[in-house]
């Protein structure tokens, strides 16, 4: 079994008030030197079977049509190795 991660972020030009709220809180918490924060979404898809090009293409399509709204959001797809459960 493999895991595919889809990260969805607001397009750079779109205002992200949640990210800004986080950033404004940072100095208060003693974290200096962070000039910008943007908040996104992470989807972890557990895929049955091999993650080959066909599977990735399908996931790409899923991300483009459903997980992200490409009018306002960008996304990336990456495969993540899952450590075997050691039981």
């Amino acid at each position: 079994m493999a895991r595919v991660v889809v990260d969805v972020m607001l397009k750079p030009e779109i205002l992200d008030p949640q990210g800004q709220a986080v950033q404004r809180a940072l100095p208060r918490l003693g974290f200096e030197g962070i000039s910008d924060v943007r908040q996104g979404k992470r989807f972890e898809l557990e895929v049955d079977g091999p993650v080959d090009d066909t599977a990735l293409a399908r996931i790409h399509e899923l991300a483009e049509s459903f997980l992200a709204n490409t009018v306002i959001e960008d996304f990336t797809v990456k495969v993540e190795e899952v450590a075997e459960a050691g039981k």
């Binding site: 607001l10 779109i14 205002l15 008030p17 709220a21 997980l67 709204n69």
Partner: protein, 242 residues
């Protein structure tokens, strides 16, 4: 004869009954539609009501947009059937790409509920013919994800083609910010670009807006005004005279 206007109930729709009531008060026949049915029961027009369909999980409107009923609504809207999307319905219409742009969380990060002042920019659409262009009205607004965004080119196109239907009226005394009793309902309540509250498609049959006209149809309840009724009388006249 009267017109049959469908109101879709999605899981999590909240203002479906209110929309049916508004349609009835305007003199048309409301028809309840169910998200799992492709069949639109021969209605002449469709309202996508407000609410939190699917809990607004993923993105507001993102899951509903793929429901069976929306397949038919999208198809028929493209061939001219009037469709009105209110709040969550507006969000569904942008997710379905029947209207351009998208909806994001309010810039102040809070839910906001108030009687909002709007300017009618386009009184030519199927849903706004009973208003006059330039008219100022009050329509209740209540949302978490009401910030309309689109790229500059799209915004310019909407302006150039007269497709901005409603704008939040900015001006008056807004110094108290969003959380104040603001008897006049002035101000952009959510950070929508160019103060856009509602837009239409090229053909003028599909209209989406964040404020809730169905909550302003009776003098006794809701906002106590009836500024929202012309939405429903506009469409009735259009359908009956068609």
């Amino acid at each position: 004869m009267t017109a049959r206007i469908g109101v879709v109930t999605f899981p999590g729709s909240l203002d479906d009954r209110d929309s049916r009531r508004a349609i009835r008060l305007a003199g048309a026949e409301p028809v309840a539609l169910w998200h799992k049915d492709k069949d639109l029961k021969q209605v002449d027009a469709v309202v996508l009501p407000g609410g939190f369909s699917y809990g607004d999980y993923l993105r507001a409107g993102a899951i509903s947009r793929f429901s069976p009923v929306m397949g038919t609504v999208i198809e028929q809207a493209k061939s001219g059937m009037p469709v009105l999307g209110i709040c969550n319905g507006f969000q569904i219409l942008t997710e379905a790409h029947l209207l351009p742009g998208g909806m994001l969380g309010n810039d102040h990060l809070h839910f906001i509920c108030r009687d909002q002042k709007l300017k009618v920019e386009n009184a030519e659409t199927a849903w706004t013919a009973d208003y006059e262009s330039g008219q100022e009205i009050h329509i209740p607004l209540k949302n978490m994800d009401g910030r309309y965004v689109a790229d500059e080119r799209t915004l310019d196109m909407l302006e150039a083609e007269g497709r901005v239907v409603f704008r939040y009226v900015v001006g008056g005394d807004t110094s108290h910010g969003h959380g104040h009793v603001n008897p006049d309902g002035y101000g952009n309540p959510n950070g929508s670009l160019r103060d856009i509250a509602g837009i239409t498609n090229e053909a003028g049959n599909v209209v989406g807006l964040m404020p809730h006209p169905e909550h302003a149809v009776e003098p006794l309840v809701g906002s106590g005004r009836t500024d929202g009724l012309p939405f429903f009388t506009s469409i009735l006249k259009k359908l009956v005279n068609a």
